[in-house]
């Protein structure tokens, strides 16, 4: 029974990882770049929520109303003012600029908020749980996280599949030049994609901050877990991302149960195993492009 519980916790943790992974996957899908500042920007969102809670007296969930639009605006600005200038200059500039951004965000957070660890207090819900019979119980908060992740993935699926913005996303993803010829304004589209990505990342960062403590240095791990969830699930597959997050989450909780130091490492090792045994991921949509 304890093992069933461990797996269940890991599965729910996967919901959080899927949130991180979705933003990363969206950006790569639309413009073929990997945002190395992804994790640090999620931690920035968590710190913004801390500020909103402390200065405005908002609850942790209510802070989302401020943090999500703020991060979306930041994403739009970042893409329009910085990343769009790097279009057509090869793979190196976007990698280096987003990496530089990661280091800048991390060290700025260190200077402003010190190295102390923080946590967002949602007012009791983080400890409330629902019994599943027997000795099994799951926390309300992990359940809500998973539900939010599923809702965001479903919304994104709908947007990409049905709406004209989604059609434009798919078109530029398939062929940038032709999409441009068809009258799609790539630059503005990329701005919207980055805004959407950082809005999702903001939700992920705030949920992370409610679930566990975080510091200025928590970002890189978030990027790595997001990346691993994307690769395990299979590039270009939105629902695969959810499965990838769940596989990673289960690997980490089971590993940590065996030996406390082995949680994250087990996650990495399962990622490597999937990579070696099934390089296209569990749910690859198409030929591997990364």
């Amino acid at each position: 029974m304890p093992w069933v519980d461990t797996v269940l916790q890991g599965l729910l943790l996967g919901g959080l990882y899927a949130l991180f992974a979705t933003g990363l996957s969206l950006i790569f899908g639309v413009m073929r770049i990997v945002n190395l500042a992804h994790g640090d920007l999620s931690i920035l969102a968590a710190f913004l929520a801390v500020v909103a809670v402390e200065t405005l007296g908002l609850g942790a969930f209510a802070a989302l109303v401020l943090v999500v639009p703020l991060m979306a605006a930041l994403g739009y600005g970042l893409q329009m003012l910085v990343l769009n200038r790097l279009l057509g200059r090869g793979i190196l500039p976007p990698i280096l600029v987003t990496f530089g951004l990661s280091i800048i965000v991390q060290n700025t957070l260190l200077e402003i908020f010190s190295a102390d660890s923080r946590r967002l207090d949602p007012g009791g819900i983080e400890t409330a749980s629902v019994s599943l019979g027997g000795q099994l119980a799951v926390g309300w908060f992990p359940l809500i996280t998973l539900a939010v992740a599923v809702a965001i993935l479903a919304g994104l699926q709908l947007l990409i599949g049905r709406l004209s913005l989604g059609r434009a996303f798919r078109a530029t993803s398939d062929d940038q030049e032709t999409a441009e010829l068809m009258g799609i304004d790539n630059r503005r589209l990329y701005g919207l994609a980055m805004a959407l990505s950082l809005a999702i990342v903001a939700v992920a960062g705030v949920f992370l901050g409610i679930r566990t403590t975080f510091t200025f240095a928590s970002g890189p791990d978030r990027l790595l877990f997001a990346f691993e969830a994307v690769i395990i699930g299979g590039l270009g597959s939105l629902w695969g991302t959810l499965v990838g997050g769940a596989v990673l989450g289960i690997a980490q909780t089971v590993g940590a149960r065996v030996s406390p130091g082995w949680g994250i490492l087990t996650g990495h090792l399962v990622f490597l195993a999937v990579l070696l045994l099934r390089p296209q991921g569990l749910f690859a949509k198409a030929r591997r492009v990364a």
Binding site: F28, R32, I33, V34, L36, V82, R85, L86, R89, I91, L92, P93, P94, I95, L96, V97, F99, G100, L101, I103, I104, N107, T108, L110, E111, P220, D221, L223, L224, F227, E228, I231, S259, G261, W262, I264, L265, H268, L269, F271, L272, L275, L276, P279, A290
Partner: protein
């Protein structure tokens, strides 16, 4: 001529300089070599790794295991540590070469974390608290410092000459062709995979030697410090600010890096924020870096690796 004078001054430094100057110079040389290695990997071979800290950490740990556990001479263990990291680079390449571009960058970072966590969970390597290099204890402090410094100088010169010779060779030309167009160079008969793998392993060797050198200088190693992302961030900032894809760029960048770091040493992490912003600014506005700015004004090349057509002689400058 300038280089010969600088080298003579550097070699004779132990006779007239003090220990702290030598320690700082060892650090300077280490960062310079790391920047040259990263530059060769990313600026020439197009393999943009964010995980080179893996080889710094592995080199440092290899030094301590070779010297303390296997009884090797600690100074001889520095190049040997490079061989260990080069050997580990082969299976690592089998994994990270599955990725391209941005995902290659994150993949190398993930692998560096795997190495860090494996070492942090190994009792024989001191787990999270790390180990101390004991093999140098019988030596006097002065002879250890002077030998370390001269070894660093030798590593620095060897790295510079090594990278220069690689770039001037046929393989160097192949490398730059790969960076510019992989399918194109493949059709010209360049074995893209083998060339990239050779560079990756050679850079792992150079990075591992430097890691060993760093910890011969510091004597104390821990997984968090040895596998810190800063071991990749510093070289990237140095190479990008100085000028990617040139040999002179990292020299200029390393000098600026030390100026900024020492100048802001009382202001916490601000030097990293400033250097990061400089690197981002350079990428946006002037991707050829400071050295590119110099060569666009004046026709100076300290290490000419370009091949230029000479109209008077009728042949190409090799």
């Amino acid at each position: 001529m300038v280089a010969a004078l600088a080298l003579a001054a550097a070699i004779s430094l132990p006779a007239w300089g003090d220990a702290s100057t030598m320690r700082i110079l060892v650090e300077f040389i280490a960062l310079l070599v790391l920047a040259q290695m990263w530059n060769l990997l990313a600026g020439y071979a197009g393999l943009v790794s964010i995980g080179q800290q893996a080889y710094v950490g592995l080199g440092g740990y290899a030094l301590i295991v070779l010297a303390d556990d296997f009884g090797a001479n600690p100074f001889l263990a520095v190049p040997l540590a490079g061989l260990v990291t080069a050997a580990l680079a082969l299976p690592t390449a089998a994994i990270v070469f599955r990725f391209r571009g941005g995902y290659f960058a994150v993949g190398t970072w993930a692998i560096a974390e795997v190495y860090r966590l494996l070492i942090a969970n190994t009792a024989a390597l001191g787990r999270g608290s790390g180990r101390t290099l004991k093999a140098v204890f019988p030596l006097t402090r002065e002879s250890r410092e002077v030998t370390t410094y001269l070894l660093a100088l030798a590593v620095g010169v060897a790295a510079l000459v090594g990278v220069y010779l690689v770039l001037r060779s046929r393989h160097g030309l192949g490398l730059m062709a790969i960076r510019d167009s992989e399918p194109g160079s493949e059709t010209l008969g360049i074995d893209v995979f083998r060339t990239k793998l050779a560079v990756y392993v050679a850079v792992a060797f150079g990075t591992g030697v430097t890691g060993a050198l760093v910890y011969l200088n510091l004597l104390r190693i821990s997984p968090d410090a040895a596998f810190s992302i800063n071991w990749t961030a510093y070289p990237i900032f140095i190479a990008v600010i100085g000028g990617l894809g040139t040999l002179e760029g990292p020299l200029v960048g390393a000098a600026l890096f030390f100026l900024v770091r020492e100048g802001l040493s009382d202001h916490g992490a601000w030097y990293m924020i400033l250097l990061g912003s400089l690197a981002v600014g350079v990428m946006l506005v002037y991707p050829h870096g400071l050295w590119g700015l110099v060569t666009s004004r004046w026709d100076v090349r300290l290490f000419p690796v370009q091949r230029r057509v000479r109209l008077d002689g009728g042949g190409a400058d090799p």
